[in-house]
């Protein structure tokens, strides 16, 4: 996932162009030869790419067109006179205060969760790396939150976070700290969900950073020590910059997924209390599946898709910037 060349291609968007055929008689011969050599390759390439293209089309093209179409109507299975409403759904979403708040909550959730996961993931990866023994056993154990089925873990968290009978509040009461109604209070529900997301996905970032750390040759640190660099300096000046591509890829993938968080909201809070944990994805789900407003629901989902595309283009262009400053 973090091979620099792929990032390069994604970022710079090009490589050496096709060398133009030389002119003249010898040129014609050469052109014919290269053309013949290129053609079967081009066909082979298309064949190799075909299965992936077909399977991807199932999710990116076909449903997208259907969803786009749906979002332009007021489709509702209970209402048999579906009519075209153009951008009416999108307009009503923009005017809807609860949708705007859903956008805000989605952004807050994503930014805070990914930031904490990044910080924690790097810290854990660095700490793991310094272990002489048992590193890989511990690593396997720490991967469990990520491997566990979210739906299974959600009920577990629900039990633990129960205001009256949950073990978390019990432990807090032993220490004399306040025991809030985690999932039932406006101010604690979203932080609780963020904490659960951090719990579940920090291993993802940790794994990527562990890989990144192992790519840094030890000689760099030894040279730095000779130059008198201390531990923290080593980290800031050597480790962190070298980890940048890995960090960016981890943030890119994690952000795209965090925008779509669903399982925890569905099981634990149903978007509440009130609308304090309603993200755009949950909003879309509720509109489409619970309220059976297919048109509005898919419009909201497409809004989320737009947010995701904008976010990832932003992240990729930051990558591009970073590469330019490094090269220059």
């Amino acid at each position: 996932m973090t091979n620099p060349e792929t990032l390069d291609t994604l970022v710079t968007g090009g490589g050496p162009g096709i060398t133009p055929a030389p002119a003249g008689d010898a040129g014609v011969q050469r052109r014919r030869r290269t053309a013949r050599r290129r053609d079967p390759q081009r066909r082979a390439r298309r064949l190799f790419l075909a299965p992936l293209t077909v399977v991807l089309a199932v999710v990116t093209i076909v449903p997208f067109l259907v969803a786009l179409g749906l979002s332009l109507t007021n489709a509702n299975p209970l209402n048999h006179s579906t009519k075209f409403v153009g951008l009416g759904n999108y307009g009503s979403l923009v005017e809807d205060g609860s949708f705007r708040s859903a956008v805000l909550i989605t952004i807050i959730f994503t930014v805070v969760a990914v930031a904490v996961e990044l910080g924690l993931g790097i810290a854990v990866a660095v700490a793991l790396n310094s272990l002489r023994r048992g590193g890989s056993v511990l690593r396997t154990l720490l991967l469990i939150p990520m491997a566990a089925a979210p739906i299974a873990v959600m009920y577990d968290w629900q039990l633990m976070l129960n205001a009256l009978s949950g073990v978390i509040n019990y432990v807090l009461s032993l220490v004399g700290l306040p025991q809030p109604d985690w999932l039932g209070s406006n101010s604690f529900a979203l932080p609780a969900l963020i904490a659960i997301d951090v719990w579940e996905w920090t291993p993802f970032i940790m794994v990527i950073i562990v890989g990144g750390l192992s790519a840094i040759p030890q000689e760099i640190y030894e040279a730095a020590k000779v130059d008198g660099a201390a531990g923290l300096q080593q980290f800031m000046r050597i480790t962190l910059p070298l980890l940048k591509p890995y960090i960016m890829v981890a943030v890119l993938f994690r952000s795209i997924d965090a925008l779509k968080t669903f399982d925890s909201i569905q099981v634990l809070t149903s978007g509440g209390p009130g609308t304090s944990t309603t993200t755009v994805n949950y909003y879309a789900f509720r509109e489409a599946i619970n309220n059976l407003e297919f048109g509005r629901g898919t419009a909201a989902a497409i809004c989320l898709l737009i947010i995701a595309i904008v976010l990832s283009k932003l992240l990729i262009s930051r990558l591009r910037q970073q590469r330019v400053t490094r090269a220059g």
Binding site: M1, M146, A149, I208
Partner: protein, 277 residues
């Protein structure tokens, strides 16, 4: 390590220990809840570890429905993994080793990435309609196709990385020796990409087994998978918490085993091109 060295390592060791406790406590809690009698599940002070009472597991196994759902999950996950790895490998090879002199834009790869951006609702609802018309609703095949299309993006990304890490000269040499692209792929290059493929397969299995929303929308009584069965557990058994915990633990086991077995390939799959260990 010198004594001073051990002392300096203390904060990071301590921090790691705290993190490990935080990461594993919910798992311990789930297991514990599954092993205590129902009425003890939420009693305070909590029963930290009283003994091994497997009655909850017996009840869950006794219910054929949950087992059938697990079987469905297994079939779907395996099928999705095979499809994803095959498509991803072929595409990864084609993208990086064939027609190398052509201008390579990042567009195809951005499109692959964008398949992960699709909010599940925007995929599930149209597929629900389409499946209704072509009679794929509530079938395993329908779910396999749907899940494959969202999983294949990650897998293809990993395989593109993996193949990019294999020198193109190898394919060129094979072609000079008279291999067709297919033979070069099958005999020469793909074997080199196997570690990456194993890592990608692990991730694919994980994603498919744990997938919830598509399964919720696209299946009903016939093709129900594990996560959906768990979700509906609450309706059937009048909220027996130990049984819910037991079912959750059972659902966890396959993915934990897979991650444990292929942990190294998982790590290298996610960071391909750089890992040495």
């Amino acid at each position: 390590m010198s004594l001073f060295g051990k002392f300096k390592a203390l904060p990071s060791r301590a921090g790691l220990a705290i993190y490990a406790i935080w990461a594993l406590f919910p798992i311990y809690w789930l297991i514990r809840t599954s092993l205590v009698p129902q009425f003890d599940a939420t009693s305070l002070p909590p029963d930290w570890f009283s003994g091994l009472n497997f009655s909850a597991y017996a009840a869950v196994f006794g219910s054929g429905q949950f087992l059938t759902a697990l079987l469905h999950s297994l079939i779907v996950a395996l099928a999705v993994t095979v499809i994803a790895v095959v498509c991803g490998s072929l595409a990864g090879y084609g993208l990086t080793h064939l027609r190398r002199h052509a201008r390579e834009k990042g567009n195809y790869e951005f499109w692959v990435l964008s398949s992960r951006m699709a909010p599940p609702v925007a995929v599930a609802l149209p597929l629900y309609f389409i499946y209704d018309h072509i009679h794929l609703e509530d079938t395993l095949i329908g779910l396999i196709i749907a899940q494959a299309s969202i999983v294949v993006g990650v897998v293809a990304w990993i395989m593109i990385e993996a193949f990019r890490g294999i020198p193109v000269e190898i394919t060129e040499a094979a072609e000079v020796d008279g291999c067709s692209s297919w033979t070069a792929f099958r005999r020469v290059v793909m074997p080199l990409a196997m570690p990456g493929a194993v890592g990608a397969a692990t991730i694919s299995f994980l994603l498919s087994w744990n997938e919830f929303l598509l399964a919720l929308v696209l299946t009903n009584t016939n093709a129900r998978t594990g996560p959906v069965a768990l979700y509906q557990f609450i309706g059937y058994e009048s909220l027996n918490l130990s049984q819910l915990a037991a079912a959750s633990c059972i659902l966890l086991i396959p993915t934990v085993i897979v991650v444990g077995l292929f942990q190294r390939q998982l790590v290298s799959g996610l960071t391909f091109g750089a890992v040495k260990g």
